[in-house]
């Protein structure tokens, strides 16, 4: 990670408010500054409509107004700043902003008018979780209504059984330590998979396997970090995720897929299915750290 600050991809919509609320909460919990960015379309490469610099300036002023209003609604906290940037598309602009501000996470909203507490990836979020070089936090519909005073009540890391969880675990430990939030380890190894024949047997062996994975992970945790462990069970991943108890305001960390290019995110199919049922924000973490 190039830095530890928070970049929020903002639009003057409900999804933008969700992202800003989560970003502000993360910034406060981690004690770091938050940079709220509106990315405007760059006229680069446009040859279909006559461009007018004067209109673009008016839009830029309008975007600054949106940022001022949004920050004023939060009570203009110190540590949160608004910026307007231009880029060919929003995800490019946010990645560039993360680089510019030394951010360790990019926050975007995934509400898009869907049901409360649900994620629905728009174009920008979709692109980010499949290419961003830094962790991406996804704020579900309704994140704007979470009371900022709850802070970060818990950090849950979804631990798999395959290599790749190390960076995820390191990140989860770091976040939990910095935000003074309890850590919870989650394994979904007990979930039935459709190609297995004997569901109950699978559940039993899967559950035992999950327990042992969690035990070994817990043993590897740095001294002084306690972690509660939970095994998800259910007919499928969505079912298992929805059976688990989630505190309002907590965040879930999920590792990037093995399909990802080095130092890039790629939301795997399991993570995608977790996201579908997850009622709290998810942070997708790259498999490899920049150092490796």
């Amino acid at each position: 990670m190039s830095g530890d600050r928070v970049v929020v991809g903002y639009t003057a919509t409900d999804a933008g408010a969700d992202a800003l609320a989560l970003g502000a909460r993360l910034g406060a919990a981690l004690g770091t500054s938050v940079h709220v960015v509106v990315v405007l379309p760059s006229p680069q490469g446009n040859v279909s409509i006559p461009t007018a610099a004067s209109y673009d300036r008016l839009v830029e002023d309008t975007a600054r107004g949106w940022l001022r209003d949004a920050l004023a609604r939060l009570g203009d906290p110190a540590g949160i700043r608004g910026h307007v940037r231009y880029a060919h598309d929003v995800s490019d602009g946010l990645v560039a902003a993360a680089d510019e501000f030394g951010a360790g996470v990019i926050v975007v909203g995934t509400g898009g008018g869907g049901p409360r507490g649900r994620h629905r990836l728009g174009t920008t979020a979709e692109e980010l979780v499949h290419s961003a070089p830094v962790p991406v936090a996804l704020a579900p519909e309704g994140a704007r209504d979470v009371d900022p005073s709850v802070g970060l009540p818990r950090v849950t890391a979804a631990i798999g059984t395959r290599p790749g969880a190390d960076v995820l675990l390191d990140t989860a430990v770091a976040v939990s330590r910095r935000a003074k939030a309890p850590l919870r380890l989650l394994s979904l190894a007990g979930v039935d998979l459709p190609d297995r024949i004997d569901a109950s047997l699978t559940r039993l062996t899967g559950h035992a396997h999950a327990e042992s994975v969690l035990e070994s992970v817990r043993a590897d945790l740095p001294a002084g970090i306690a972690a509660e462990a939970v095994v998800g069970t259910g007919s499928d991943i969505e079912d298992a995720v929805s059976r688990i108890e989630w505190e309002p305001g907590e965040i879930a960390l999920v590792g990037s897929s093995r399909l990802a290019q080095p130092r890039r995110l790629f939301l795997g199919s399991t993570a995608g299915r977790i996201l579908r049922a997850l009622p709290v924000p998810m942070i997708v973490v790259p498999r490899t750290s920049e150092a490796s």
Partner: protein
Amino acid sequence: MTTSRNGASPAPDSAVTTGISNKGLRVGSIGMIGAVVIGISTIAPAYTLTGALGPTVSAVGFQVPAIILVGFIPMLLVALGYRELNSRMPDAGTSFTWAARAFGPWVGWMAGWGLVAATVIVLSNLAGIAVDFLFLLIAQISGNPEIAEITRIVPVNVAVCLLFMLLATIVSYRDLQTTQRLQYGLVGFQILVLLVFAGAAVVEMMNGNAFDPSPVQLSWFNPFEVPSFSAFAAGLSLSIFIFWGWDVILTMNEETKDPDKTPGRAATVTVFLIVALYLLIAVALLMFAGNGAGELGLGNEDIQENVFFHLSGPILGPLAFLVSLAVLTSSASSLQATFVGPARTLLAMAHYDALPRKFAKVSPRFFTPGYATIVSAIVASGFYAIMRVLSENVLTDTITALGAMICFYYGLTAFACVWYFRKQWFDSARNVFLTLLAPLIGGVILAVLFVTTLIDSANPEYGSGSQIGGVGLVFVITVVIIVVGVVLMIAQRIASPAFFRGETLGREAPASARRRRTT
């Protein structure tokens, strides 16, 4: 807008940064070719010619080439003034803002209204032409000529037109842009097809297959051969329409890689290309079809409203579908380029309180003038539907009314340039020409054209011969548009007087640089 409302700069206290690091900067990125492509796709020569050639022939007969050459002069003179205003007061409101700064709120409001009305009319005409060619294209590809006639069934025609408008609205609202490569391809295709079309017409004429072979004569290029001043004025106001859109290139300063050179060069290249193309097509089609009132003659009122529609088959035979495709793609890209005009002006007017605040809304997701775009689309659709029912020859009449509205707001803009720079006229020889002579002469020509068109169009025989109560339809349209504008302006004055008191956009005239130096 460089100057924010009330001339006050925004409070610097806030936590929102105003500077932009060079990374996220909005950079000028359009090169010469890009600017030419934008210019040509905005002018849309294939669409423009099929719509305007017929009405122009009906006004001036064989002297169309002469009128095309002469018609460029007032356009150029006004565009020079336009460029001066744009570099001095870059503002999304363009004509509206400039006229308000020069002549005060009332004239400014009417100039903005004229611009919006003209672009809304052209939107409806563009969509109307596209409908004709859609059916023609289907007929050509399926080999069933009867399908082309479906466009004459009014309810079907209006329904398809509204569908086109809906698509164009979605594209504009969401700011969906075609890729650079596709746009280059479309413009190249359009020019190529027009060249082939003109070439084929000449070859057919040489081979003796023309409908009414008319060898090209020098007199076609002589404007003094036009029989009457009324005919001359009508032709001229139409030929202003065919160059309309060209001025966008001149005003693209900050967007280009080299603001000092690119716009001027691109505008020159574009205008030579466009004039050559227009002359070629006009001469070729006159050679092929003549000026008679026969079946395919350009003097035939039935084919005048959409010349390519009727002539592409006889000239190109099985390849005629290429012309349909070129006109369709040309109308489609012009539809998108034209949509931004009225929407941005409406937004700027609302920004200065000259319209209800809703019009000033910028879409938070697509950063387009959302509300203004939708209102423009609804008005253009309504206008087309009403005209389609009222007029015998809707496309001809809308084009003529459009010519008049362009003269109206362009003329006002030209005079605004003259008056705004009144203290700087004699600062330099350059100023004498660009801020006084050019816009003044251009403005006077447009004013004369506007008044002449208005007087002549009151005659029920004018244009397509459509009339309401013994008065020509074009006259009625033009007057109704202006009266509606005045009524809306007064309504806005009552609802929100700040703009009309000059509180949001005051009059000004920059002081002479020369006097400042000496004192």
